[in-house]
Amino acid sequence: MPETRLLFRDIDVPGVDGIEVYEQRGGYRMLRKAVLEMTPDAVAQEVMASNLRGRGGAGFPTGRKWSFLPKDGRTRYLVCNADESEPGTCKDQEIIYRIPHLLIEGVVLSAYAIGAEDAFIYMRGEFKTGFRIIERAIAEARERGYLGDNVLGTGRRIEVTPYLGAGAYICGEETALLESLEGKRGNPRLKPPFPATAGLYGMPTVVNNVETLSAVVRILEMGGAEYAKLGTERSAGTKLFSVSGNVRRPGNYEVELGKVTLRELLFDIAGGPPEGHEFKAAIPGGSSVPFLTPDKFDTPLDYESLQAAGTMLGSGGVIVLDDRADIVDASLRLMEFYRHESCGKCTPCREGTMWLGQVLARMASGEGRPGDVETLADLCSNIDGQTFCPLGDAAIGALASGLRLFRDEFQAHITKGDGPLGEVAR
């Protein structure tokens, strides 16, 4: 099955980054319909019926997340997580840069549905150009009354404010993002309380990913029940997959969940491995998830099938490596990332990523010592499930699976002797 373009339906239409072409393609019709003809609850019901799951990585059902907001009359906030930083993931970037009004419409629709007057789009600091694109899109939408103090003359206020982060992967974790949006260091918060009850400025808050909020527009167009018919029962709709690494046609591809296998995505859609090479392994959901080897490439791309295969759908960032890739080098590169991005708040993550990085570095430079492979496995198990936030588990996702799948290759990096004269006498 080829691509099923829902969010990307109009992405190649010239000028669709501007409001006029976006409107010509039917843009803002759903916003108009929702605000003028539907109650906020009716909009939320469509999202609930769609079975949409969060597209940022965790895959939590969006409708349920919204339903957790307490009905206590306090100010509510909507925050769009546009801190796209998971290595291998570049899908939100494409929505922001090429079809920004889809995001803006989804944000205003969702803010309306949950009863938020203020919505924020928290973008990673590197998206400086994207920030200007979103600022311009907001200005265009404001001119036409789609947001601001008096949305489409209804007297309802919905304001959208973009916010630029400043370089920190951890701010993609929703509570760290909220800290950063409040002007603080991006340290994750203890949960509970969850953002639904105590989020931005301590108020009830929903945090949703760019792709999730963009999908809300299409859910309204199709109706939640129709959207739910796409994909599988537990993985409804379409999903954007970023394919990168050693592959002929890297790119962002949108497919119906559960209807396309990883093999079809990598070969039929992305063109297969570079000439003269074979795939060695793929990370299907961003750098935080376990590797799959080609014998598992027939796994359908949906949440439950990938989980059954021992990995995760995550963000949909598919990094694929071919037979030239050294698994120790790749593991080292990923570990350096997590070591750099650990916020340092808790010990297993801060110290663990440092030690893992050091051991991998000496193995990669040909100075691996006997016992190093065991040390890596031991360090992984001391991080697994032991950290304050998901970054620790993310750091070991690929490595722990690599140690199982490619143990011989790790072992081959251990030098025969472990002293300056070679083998040490027992």
Partner: protein
Amino acid sequence: MNAENLQKAKELLHRFPQKSSALIPMLHLVEEEFGCIPEAEVAVVADLMGTTPAYVESVLSFYTLFHRQPTGKYLVQVCRGLSCQVNGADDLSRFLYEELGVTRGGTTDDGLFTVEEVECIALCKDAPAVQINMEFYPNVTKEQLRAFIDKAAKEVKSGA
């Protein structure tokens, strides 16, 4: 900060439901104007925010896009994400270090170039990717970098 940015900074204080949110946007203004966050500006920002310089330091030190030392006129950031690495990112970094005679994070003596290797910049499908002064460049080659270096150096000469 110059008068224009000072005005913008004051406006930021009222931009968000709570004033605290203005801090990071304000630091972006400083970084843009100075190419780093100078000590004296930390005090200015602290004053505007009604907090201490130490608190401002604690926040800005968390974020990699705020520099403490001035960067060159061109801040060249080579993405070292895994997808970029398997597509030749290390070759690009090495090329820049050799051509410009700097080490990682270093600035050329003429203050023209700073070279950094940065973590994934979300351009994985266009690997190897490079960012120059916060603008993205996809599928970068050594030839492109060579031409960029030559052109930038010439501009400076003709300007002087």
